[in-house]
């Protein structure tokens, strides 16, 4: 049900943070994280996941396989 940010890839640029419609993104020690319980994969908000689209580094915001895909209720 969520995207995650690969910490080693994150430049800490903050481009994703204001784009998230769920305010699921936060900063800690210079890199950004996604709260999985808040992430909806932008379903119902936008055609594409905003963190992925805004991130300057490829393959940094990725689907977190630890969670099942988000289902709009």
């Amino acid at each position: 049900m969520a995207y995650k940010i690969v910490g080693s890839q994150c430049t800490g640029c903050s481009a994703c943070e204001p784009e998230c419609p769920n305010e699921a993104i936060f900063e800690k020690n210079g890199v950004f994280y996604i709260k999985p319980e808040k992430c909806t994969e932008c379903i119902g908000h936008f055609d594409e996941a905003q963190c992925v689209a805004a991130c300057p580094v490829d393959k940094t915001c990725i689907i977190d396989n630890a969670y099942p895909r988000y289902q709009a209720s």
């Binding site: 430049t11 640029c13 903050s14 481009a15 594409e48």
Partner: protein, 522 residues
């Protein structure tokens, strides 16, 4: 180093001969130098000369802005604060993962700041360096992609340091949205990076943009970007905000196209056009670095700049500085103002002290201005077409006042019998390391100023002196601590005398390389 020079090997065949550019030498003394390099219309002098050819309102805006006035850049300092890390477009010459404190180029920064930290830093620097007159937000991403952070910093500064000029630099994508905000905080200088006005060219420079919650790619992305840039520029012009257009010269991609960009931005009221060389090395990890896209040689850069001179005021003194640079252009004192150090500083913002210091700086700027005019009056003759470049070692103040071995850059002046014009600068590796000249550094310095007939210095050792002579570059220390234009014109009169008497023969010089690698702030 070898590889860098090979990359910079000139390919002049790529550059078409430039036609239709009117070059004329001003005859009237009232033109006071400004027309001497002129082309059509407003000529190039807006940036290099004084109040002679600008309205008083514009002169007031640029006279102590080192980025907008070539004359000011010898005397006044600027600083950038890195509060805007996010960006909304991808450029092929930029890799957002790269961060190295030894590297000096746009987009690079060592320490990101919050608006509160940035304001504290500005106040600290303004107290330590009273000739610091300009605060810019230039990233390390795009100033308008982090609008809250950018404008919060400006808001606080406007209250706490009202004498500091505020400016920002942007790729222009979000510019139309923020023109009102820009005016609200009295930001009267905005820089827009415009590398193309044609999406066919743009798609080779910008792989994607992020706009209106969507990623756009290729030609569609480039079209949106250019439309937004042109709209933003027109809006700023309509509001009376001075604009500087930065263009990165990318040989084979936009070198010919920049003439069209120049016309387009000038027709929309751009105040300055700054054409800069591509910085591209494989180790930077940029797309252009990895594909081996080379930067221009010194001559290629100058050819495009010369051809664009008639279009808009042309800036040639840009140092492509870091997003957290502090000091005079070409110098970076950011190491002295890290967050930890600022915490220790006892800072009082003394407006009066800054004013009285700047009055002295203003006298020095005026003295350099007058010395240039005196030298032109004394040595200026009728232009007979003989034109040479000279390299100058200076620590600022507009004087020949640096030891050859201490120079990390040389300023380049173009001389004719009737003019001395700043045309650029070349970064070099320091020749002197710990008191000893490094002979292996000399060839790289010679390469960087290989298009010059002479190098004017305060002092120079015997060894480099002989080697420069052997390379055909005359080392000159006879004018130490004199104003640059006066020294250069006096030397040139002497040079012409020696040519006329048959003592020496005037031989054209070759091309020079633009230094690409890491720059150690010395």
């Amino acid at each position: 180093m070898e590889a860098a020079l090979e990359n910079a090997t000139p390919n002049l065949s790529r550059l078409k001969p430039i036609t239709g550019i009117k070059v004329e030498i001003a005859g009237q003394p009232e033109a006071s130098g400004c027309g001497t390099t002129g082309g059509e219309g407003k000529a190039s002098c807006g940036t290099s000369d004084g109040p002679d050819d600008m309205s008083p309102e514009i002169w007031e805006k640029v006279k102590n802005h080192p980025c907008y006035s070539e004359e000011a850049h010898h005397h006044y300092a600027r600083m950038h604060v890195a509060v805007a890390p996010a960006c909304n477009i991808q450029c092929n010459y930029c890799n957002r993962k790269y961060d190295c404190s030894n590297e000096s180029r746009p987009g690079v920064v060592s320490q990101k700041l919050t608006p509160d930290q940035a304001v504290k830093k500005v106040i600290a620097v303004a107290s330590e360096i009273p000739q610091m007159t300009v605060l810019g937000i230039a990233g390390p991403g795009d100033a308008l992609a982090s609008p809250q952070k950018t404008f919060e910093t400006f808001r606080q500064l406007q209250e706490q340091a009202p004498d500091i000029k505020l400016c920002l630099s942007t790729n222009g994508l979000m510019l139309p949205e923020y023109v009102d905000e820009i005016c609200k905080y009295n930001i009267d200088h905005v820089t827009i990076t415009i590398n193309m006005i044609d999406a066919e060219v743009g798609e080779k420079i910008y792989p994607w943009i992020f706009y209106n919650h969507k990623r756009y790619y290729g030609r569609e992305a480039a079209q949106i970007l250019t439309d937004r840039q042109m709209l933003g520029l027109e809006m700023l012009t309509a509001r009376g905000v001075l604009t500087k257009i930065n263009s990165v010269l990318i040989p084979g991609i936009n070198d010919q196209h920049l003439y069209e960009v120049n016309r387009a931005v000038k027709s929309r009221g751009a105040f300055l056009h700054n054409i800069m060389p591509l910085i591209s090395e494989a180790e930077h990890g940029t797309v252009f670095g990895l594909t081996g896209q080379r930067g221009p040689s010194a001559q290629e850069l100058k050819d495009v700049q010369d051809a664009c001179m008639g279009g808009a005021n042309l800036m040639r003194h840009c140092r492509q500085c870091r997003a957290d640079a502090v000091g005079l252009l070409g110098e970076d004192r950011s190491d002295e103002f890290t967050l930890d150090q600022i915490e220790q500083m006892d800072v009082v913002y003394d407006l009066e002290k800054r004013r009285s210091y700047q009055e002295k700086v203003e006298l020095e700027r005026q003295a350099q201005h007058d010395a240039k005019h005196d030298a032109l009056a004394a040595h200026g003759g009728v232009d007979d077409g003989m034109k040479v470049l000279v390299a100058v070692a200076t620590t600022g103040g507009g004087k020949v006042n640096e030891h050859f071995g201490h120079a990390t850059e040389f300023q380049i002046f173009e001389l004719t019998a009737a003019s001395a014009t700043f045309v650029g600068h070349r970064r070099v590796d320091l020749y002197c390391q710990g008191g000893f000249g490094e002979d292996e550094q000399l060839p790289s310095i010679v390469n960087a100023i290989n298009d010059c007939h002479a190098v004017l210095v305060a002092k120079i050792g015997a060894c480099p002196r002989d080697e420069l002579k052997a390379a055909g570059i005359e080392p000159v220390d006879a004018y130490a601590h004199e104003f640059i234009e006066k020294a250069a014109l006096t030397w040139f009169a002497d040079y012409r005398g020696r040519v006329a008497s048959g003592e020496i023969t005037h031989i054209a010089r070759g091309d020079a390389a633009i230094r690409q690698g890491a720059f150690m702030a010395a």
